[in-house]
Every structure is written in structure tokens, then in C-alpha cells.
């Protein structure tokens, strides 16, 4: 994937891009806190917002349990879109042991996200405000909450583990033989957050603020090692809101187990690695070009800035991804790049099975 190890000083060039990164990294810099204090207040604050979910499964390696978190006082619950929800009706057990039936209100396979609603009215539950969320950078102390291994039952609280954000980067994984549908940014954690049944749990800061949702068990596509990660809540908040407000397509378009097969073109399909998407409008700079990839053959280089995709202006990593995701087999892909003071136009083929090596 990477040609070798670079001394970063060599790469530290006073380009506009580097200055820009220094600026945002100061904004996002959070000191590593070394003081080993118990976080019990924060933990006790988060636990009532996390729920245990029981649904379909139970076969070998397909657990029938999962985790979710409350996103409204009325009993809306965000969790991962998985086989546990196949029946569309599941049992949810709150932290205080109360047990409710719940239905799938809607889901967004692209984000591996589903929203449930407890079949009960007039609830006043503690919840996470998904709009009032924060981000954290590498080195930040984090807590993971989930019902991993189904250890907790009834009113027993879910498991809490601690770790440090190792990186905030794109998720390039495989699950079984499939690639994950979600290829956006994730927090990579140095603790074993993503275990059986942990998906749908939460990653929080030391003081209990929501950072992201723990994802399914996935392996890194390159190294085949298990990845411990969480999807930043900023990636999910909008879809959660839309599902709750009913503005979202409620019908399953395809079986969730096979949706991962569909054509989803991402920068990596062409061998393009973007810089980390750390703010709302991160410019679409190319971080790296995989050797022998279509992008390499087309002559794209690191530090190129993507300006246009098929004549559509691209103002961020996110809009670049969105443009790519609209492509279909047979389409053409024409990029206009800025390299130094030059504008360069390249054309790339769209191939089926365009997977990373």
C-alpha cells in the first residue's frame, strides 16, 4: 500500500496544504491526559443511555445480540444495521432492566446505521443529543461502552473499556469476503472495542461526551487484522435525524446481508487515498496513490488537489466521495486536478470489481 517509510521531515514542505493542516491540527489538538483518574461519574452518566438489543441470529458466529444507544427521550435508538435486526422487531433492555419491544424505524445501509423505536409511548429517557456532538483527535483518551459478548443481562450495565484514539482515518476493511459499505472516516482505537455484540455501542470522551458509534467486527483489507473503530457521530447525525423525522426511505431496498456487494465507487477503487477528513470542508487533497492503480497509471500524484469531477465542482473530501458514489458502470470519470500552479485533466476507467489489492 505504501512504498516505504518516510521521514516526515522530508515531507514537511511549506505548501499551502501543510500550513492549512497545521492550522486545523492546532484547533483539534487535545492534550494527552496522563492523570489516571477514575471516570466513574462520566460512566454512570453514559450507561443509562446505552441499551442491550436482542434479535435474530444465534447461529455459529452470528450472535443474536447487540448494542444501541438512545437518541431521543421518546425511545429512538441508534444501532448498526445488522442481521440482528432481520426480523424488524427486536427486544431492547434498558440499563435499568426495563424490557421493551422495538421496531426498525429506518436504516441507511451506506452508513451501516439503523434507528429503532421502542413500542411504548410517553417515555422520558436519558439520551444522547446527536446534534450536540464533538470530535477528538489522535491521543485522546476514550471510553467504549457495549454489551460485548453479551456479558450483561437484565439491569446489569454494559461493559466499559478504555483506550486512546490512535488515528482518525478512512475505513478500508473487509468483513468476511465483503468490503464494508461504509468507507468514510472512523476513529481507530487502541483497545478491543469491536467485539461480538459490541456493534451499536458508543465511543465517548473521558467525560462521557458522545464521539461515535462502535461498528461491526471488521478486518483491515490489507493486513487482515481486526480493526477497532467507531464511526464519528457527525457522519450519522443527519441520517438519524432524518429517519426519526420520517424523511427517510423506510423500505429496505435490498437484503442487508448482500447490499455490500453493490457497486460503490470510492476514491480507493482508483487507488486514491485522500487526506484525513477532519473538518466539514476538508479540501480534497490526494494523500497517496497506490502503486499500479488506475490513478497511478493516469499519472495522479500525492498533493494533487481535486477541483472537478465530471465538470462538477468539488469543494471537499466529502463532496468528492459523493460525486464518485453517483457513478455507475460504464460512466466516464474525468478529474481536474491542481498541481502547484498547473491544472491537469485526467480520465479514469470505471471497472467492475475495482477493489483494493
Amino acid at each position: 500500500m505504501r512504498s516505504g517509510h518516510h521521514d516526515f521531515v522530508d515531507e514537511f514542505r511549506p505548501t499551502s496544504r501543510a500550513c492549512w493542516i497545521v492550522a486545523i491540527s492546532i484547533l483539534f489538538w487535545l492534550p494527552v491526559r496522563g492523570e489516571a483518574q477514575s471516570s466513574s461519574d462520566a460512566i454512570n452518566d453514559v450507561l443509562p443511555r446505552v441499551v442491550k438489543i436482542y434479535g435474530a441470529g444465534g447461529l455459529r458466529n452470528l450472535e443474536a445480540y447487540g448494542t444501541g444507544f438512545l437518541v431521543s427521550p421518546e425511545g429512538h435508538i441508534a444501532t448498526v444495521w445488522s442481521h440482528v435486526l432481520d426480523n424488524f422487531a427486536v427486544t431492547v433492555v434498558l440499563n435499568d432492566g426495563r424490557r421493551f419491544e422495538a421496531s426498525v424505524l429506518g436504516f441507511e445501509p451506506q452508513l451501516d446505521l439503523a434507528v429503532l423505536k421502542l413500542d411504548e409511548e410517553n417515555l422520558e429517557l436519558p439520551y444522547f443529543d446527536v446534534n450536540n456532538s464533538i470530535t477528538a483527535g489522535p491521543g485522546s483518551f476514550v471510553l467504549g461502552f457495549s454489551n460485548m459478548f453479551n456479558v450483561a443481562a437484565g439491569d446489569e450495565p454494559v461493559s466499559v473499556i478504555h483506550g486512546v484514539i490512535a488515528a482518525k482515518t478512512e475505513l478500508i476493511t473487509r468483513r468476511g469476503t465483503y468490503e464494508s459499505p461504509y468507507d468514510g472516516e472512523v476513529y481507530i482505537v487502541d483497545a478491543a472495542t469491536n467485539n461480538s455484540g459490541a456493534a451499536g455501542g458508543v465511543l465517548t470522551t473521558r467525560d462521557g461526551q458522545l464521539l461515535g458509534m462502535i461498528g461491526k467486527e471488521l478486518r483491515n483489507a490489507g493486513s487482515n487484522t481486526w480493526v477497532n473503530y467507531a464511526v464519528p457521530i457527525q457522519e450519522l447525525g443527519h441520517a438519524i435525524e432524518q429517519i426519526i423525522s420520517g424523511q427517510f426511505d423506510n423500505e429496505p431496498t435490498e437484503d442487508p446481508a448482500t447490499s455490500e456487494d453493490s457497486l460503490q465507487v470510492s476514491p480507493l477503487n482508483f487507488g486514491l487515498v485522500l487526506i484525513p477528513d477532519v473538518i466539514n470542508r476538508t479540501p480534497a487533497y490526494i494523500e497517496a496513490v497506490l502503486p499500479k492503480s488506475p490513478a497511478a497509471r493516469a499519472g495522479i500524484q500525492p498533493d494533487d488537489l481535486v477541483l472537478f469531477v465530471n465538470d462538477e465542482l468539488v469543494d471537499s473530501c466529502r463532496s468528492f466521495r459523493q460525486e464518485l458514489s453517483r457513478l455507475e458502470l460504464g460512466d466516464e470519470l474525468r478529474l481536474v486536478l491542481r498541481r502547484g500552479e498547473q491544472l491537469i485533466t485526467v480520465e479514469l476507467p470505471i471497472e467492475q470489481q475495482a477493489n483494493v489489492p
Binding site: I26, W29, A36, S40, D155, I161, V227
Partner: protein, 612 residues
Amino acid sequence: MNAYSKLTSANAFVRPLRRDIGLMLISVVVGLSASARAVAVDPAVVAAEQRRVEVVSKASEAVVAIFGSTAQGGGSGVLISKDGYALSNFHVTSSAGDFMKCGLNDGVLYDAVIVGIDPTGDVALLKLLGRDDFPHATFGDSDNVEIGDWVYAMGNPFLLATDFQPTVTYGIVSGVHRYQYPAGTFLEYTDCIQVDASINPGNSGGPLFNAVGELVGINGRGSFEKRGRVNSGAGYAISINQIKNFSDHLRSGRVVDHATLGATVSSRSDGAVIVDNILEEAEVFRRGLREGDELVSFAGRTIRSVNQFKNILGIYPKGWKLPLVYRRGDERREIFVRLRALHRESEMNPRMMGAPIPGEPRERPRRRDNPDRDDGDQEEQPQPVPDSPRESSEDTPEKYQHMLEVRSGYANAYFNKVELDRTMSGLSRLGDFRQFTGTWRLRGSGTGLGVAASEGFELTVSESGIGLEWGARLFVQPLDGSELLDEPPGTGGLLLAISHLQKMLVLGKTGFTEYFYLGSEPLDGHGARVDVIVTELEGVNSFWYFQKDSGAFVGFDTTLGENADRCEVRFGEFRTIDGRMFPVNWMIRHADDTVAVFAIQELEMLAAGTGS
């Protein structure tokens, strides 16, 4: 640059960000004075680090690296007394042999011998030999452990420590009062502590310390699923409070059993825990519990789930008496119940238990070159690592051979003698009764058994039988081989109990067919801890109680059968009679009721052959 390159190489999935981490570091350094060579660190951080270093340094002294004497097996342990008693897991010692080699962080390898085992709780007690001044851990209170607390797990994962310096992993408590299902009926983890500190094969039996270095648990298993048999972020430690309940039982050298209530429970849809099945011969049935009753609390802890009930039940040895509160309709009742054995005697043979647990394949941690293989193993114990790299020494020093006595029902019967001798000193302190093998007469006055006012009695204990004349009434228990009776009726066999007391005082061990130290328990379920000696004669068991701190003889129970309520005799004041201490205030209890109170004024004891 070092830390930076380590970060990238250790995290293969951390891809493009590396440069930007570097840039961030630069940006921070730029923010500081250019001449500042070291980053200013908050003094609180330095102090916290210093505290950790001190705690680890002190705690490490008590951590034991266990190796099987035949180079088979191994694991970890922790010293708990200066004379060398150490805790470990049963699943470590069962494959390590009766004599083991134990390394401490002073670099010395000590001989050790098995003492007692608790196969259900997966606990073993061993004794390191050769010193009387071992460093040892101090007990914490595991009921005070909370989610989020910092903990240290120490031990010898993967048998890495060739110099016996323990490996330290640091993490937080992920859950408390966890329940982990047994393999069959053994290796059940109840009320255990879940941690995210790394627990790996070889950590088994090692200590879990709290932030101040007190021993709060014994690390024993982890949730090992599809990632090979290595840490998955969920390790489980047996709570030290459970082990405190069993520690004297373990010192007895016996194979220790856990308990059952004699009733099974299930949870109703509203969360209430309901009795759905009950054994009619169980004590809890005799105390009044019935199917359909709702359990409210057990051993002083509120019950809100079946797991909680199992958690509470699992931390007590068989035979302990515990308070149980239940509800029937609007009525709330509180009873004391003595727990039944979980296993039959025949199931508790240690020589049968060293074998691998059915359905629990014992294998090495999966090799890293085949990470793709998923076998879906559930909830495995960290296995003792086979094939110790250490040279084996099958020869146990001759001078320690006498410290192992193999007998059915015992891990090592040698240590039962040690505890018996210690406890029996509470009896010999009363004086020498050995010459009085003849008839005894006790005169005094008593109330009870329907007699309201105090009435005089005379109790005669002879070889042919026991008689009690009490006011106008006469009760007799012949000792000619005829049936053993509940005499006086409603006492559970007081006359028989008194004949056993005479045998205990006069004949000691030789008066009974079985005679062993059991362990300790809270007297009657609510009193101070007492050491317990068990005797058996003609199928009748008696239980003798000696206060733990003072060694004082405080009473005894006699039972006419396993499923009969005991006759419980508790002593108040002792008085010196002819140079011997004798209990003169007796309270007689049966089936949770005080049935009689005796005050003894005269004691007449005859030597053998001097007739009645």
C-alpha cells in the same frame, strides 16, 4: 521519531494520517519556547506515574510464576501470607501437579505444594516452602470495586518471565458482579470482576490489584472468541471476597464444594425472580419456601435477576447458613437457610478432575500466521501454557514429601491435620477430660419444650444410653444399637447430641469414625466467623464450632440425617468445675427456633468402670 515510527508499525491500519500526526507534534512544539528541551508535565501527572511505579514495585513482590514440576503446565499466583500460602486457579494447579516450582521476583525458584482446591470456583491454594517471611499481598474489599476503577493485572502471560519478573497490564474495571457460565458444573465464575486489562494464557491464577495495590481478585478467564486465544478486551477475575469466604475451607486441604439452595428460580416478565421448582427434602422447603414465591433478597443483597441470584449463591461454600427474604402475596418472610452441596461426594475426587474439561479443548494460542481461522470458541479459560521452557525437576526434595498426603475427598490431607491441631487447641484449653470415660450426670434447671417456668432436671450420660428427667417428664435415648431418636421430641436429637459432646471431650478423635477440619463460617448465619470441625459416628454428623479469633468452643450441632434439621447447642458462660472449664449456660435451637435453655449447676463425671 522513535515513538512515531512505533506508532505506524504497530498499527498497520493507521495509514495516511501518520504525516499529519507528525505535523501536529511539530505544531505543538512550535507553540512552545524554541529553547525548551523538555515538555513541561503537570506535576499531578508525574505524581500519578510515581504512585503507579510504587504500587507496581510493591505488589510485584507477591506475584508468583507457577511451573509444573514435570515441565507441564504453568500459570500465575499470588502470595497471601508470610508463611507462603498463595492463591491460583484450579485449572492451573490441576495440570501442574501436587508439587510445583514457583518463581518470585527476587529471582528465586521455590518449591510449593498443593493445599486445597475449589474446582467449581476455579480456585486453588498452594503453599510455597522454604521461608517464613514471604512478601505477600494485602486483601482489598472487592465489593467496593466500581466500574471505571483502575486495576493492575499481574502474572506470567505466555510464560514470558524467565527471570520471574511479573508482566503488568493496566486497565479499568469494565463490569462488576458478572456471571460467567460454568463448563458443566465446574469452573463457574460468579460475581466476578470484568476488566479490560490484558489477560492472556499464563495470566491465569495471577492477582488483580486495585489502584492502591490491594488484592481484589484472581484473574482466571477471558472472552476468547474468534481472535485466537488471546486478550479480547474482556478478562474476568474471581472476586477476593468470594475467596475470603472459602479461604479456610481451602486451608483444610479438602476438595471444596459450592452450594445450591435446593430450589431453582426464573424471572417473570416484570423482572421478579420466582421459585419455579423446589426440592421437598431441602432445608429451604422446611423453612417454608414454596413454588411461586418471589425472592426479595439473599445474603443481604437484593435480587433483581436470575444472574444476581446465581452470583450470590456462587460465592458461598456448601453448608453456610444465609438469610433469605421472600414474598408471598403481600406477606414478606425472612428465614435462615443452610445451603446444600452442589455436587455429590463422588464427584469431588481431585484425581478425576485434572483431566481436560469436556467440551473445552485445550490448545495453544493460535499462531499468528493463520489469523483467518475462525473457530468460534466461546468463553474459554486462559489455559495454562504447556511446554514450559524451564528444565523440569521431577524430584521433589525429600524433606517436603511428608507435606503431601493423598486421600479421596482431599487435595492434600496433610493440611487438614495442621488445621485440626490448631482448632482442637480450643478444646484442650478447657482441661483434661480423658479419664472420665464413665457415666456423667448434669443437674440444673431449664425452661422450654412447653415448660414455661424453670424446672429442675437431671441428665445422665452412660454407655448404655442417655436419660433426661425434667420435672415430671422422662426422655431416653438407648445406645444399644436401637433407632436414634429425636428426643426430647422437637429438639432434633438433643440426647444424642449430648452423648457426642461427652465423646468429644473425653475421647476426641478416637470417639468418632470420621473427624476433620471443614473450614469456617459465620455462626448461625449472622454471628462471628467460627472454625468448624466435623465428626461422624454411626451415620450421625456433628459440627463443632470454635471462635475464629479466640479459639473458644462456642457450641455444636448434631444431625440425625442429612435432610433433618439439626439440634443446635450454643454455649454461654463457662465455669471452672474441679479445675476444668465447662459450659454452664446452654441454648438449644432447632429448626430456627430456640426450644430450650439450660442452666447447669452440678457436674458429676466418673472414670471408667465406676458404674452408674
